[in-house]
């Protein structure tokens, strides 16, 4: 396997957060919350883990400082890409392992 699974991104909710940010570039925290079935405190915990790993950046900009914006850092983008590639490799390997049905 050339790409490696990332232990920080591996939990399902964190993978989903990274997927949302990869698709949206910059998203408001409330949008991320809308797409996850998590309580505000659980979401904060997951986001904090990604921020601590240097994968996600948080900022408050624009007229409303109450709004928190999230985006993947360059390191986060690389880690997310590698993680997804590793998952794809697992799926691809299983397809190769399946013996062809005899005709």
């Amino acid at each position: 396997m050339s790409a490696a699974l990332d232990p920080v991104i591996h939990p399902a909710h964190r993978l989903r957060i990274c997927a949302l940010l990869a698709a949206g570039t910059t998203l408001e925290l409330s949008v991320v919350k809308e797409h996850l079935d998590l309580s505000p405190s659980a979401l904060s915990k997951q986001v904090a883990a990604l921020v601590e790993a240097g994968y996600v950046g948080q900022s408050r900009h624009g007229g409303d400082s109450r709004r928190v914006w999230l985006s993947l850092t360059r390191r986060g983008q690389r880690a997310y890409r590698d993680h997804v590639a590793a998952l794809q490799e697992i799926v691809a390997a299983s397809a190769v392992d399946v013996p062809a049905e005899p005709r």
Binding site: V8, T25, E28
Partner: protein, 151 residues
């Protein structure tokens, strides 16, 4: 330091990838506010119509272009998704067609003195965008009342 207890099997990996796709599609297809479609259509038509101006064509064209950008980025920030690109390829193709009509209007205006081809292209630019709006709304559904996109 976090670690992975067990490498996921193929079914788990497939489920995780499907979840990734679902999440990305959901955020990219966030419904837009209804007002943005006619406003963009009008602005694109106006951009094409600036080709008819004899004086100050470039500054007016640039000003309307910046207004289009400003309106869309501001609406995006209000919705919390400023830079997402919708998943509908037909929508993207129609927006590109609308932009092509605007550029064609500029070229045609330099090649002829008649006003009607430019006006026809301005109407085509607006119409293309309106159709794109219908396509977009059909893929995303209506904006929910709780989002900023309904204003």
């Amino acid at each position: 330091m976090e670690s992975i207890d067990r490498t996921p099997d193929a079914a788990e990996a497939r489920a995780a990838l499907a979840d990734v796709q679902r999440a990305q599609r959901a955020v990219r297809d966030t419904p837009w506010p209804t007002w943005i479609y006619p406003v963009n259509a009008l602005l694109l038509g106006a951009m094409a119509a600036t080709a008819l101006l004899r004086d100050d064509r470039n500054p007016v064209f640039l000003a309307i272009g910046l207004t289009v950008l400003g309106v869309n980025v501001a609406a995006g920030y209000r919705m919390g998704t400023p830079w997402t690109v919708p998943t509908s390829r037909l929508f993207v193709a129609l927006v590109l067609a609308s932009g092509a009509c605007v550029l064609a209007a500029l070229v045609v205006a330099d090649a002829t003195t008649a006003a009607w081809p430019v006006l026809a292209l301005a109407v085509a630019a607006a119409a293309c965008y309106l159709v794109a709006g219908v396509v977009h709304r059909r893929t995303t559904g209506r904006p929910r009342a709780s989002t900023g996109g309904t204003a």
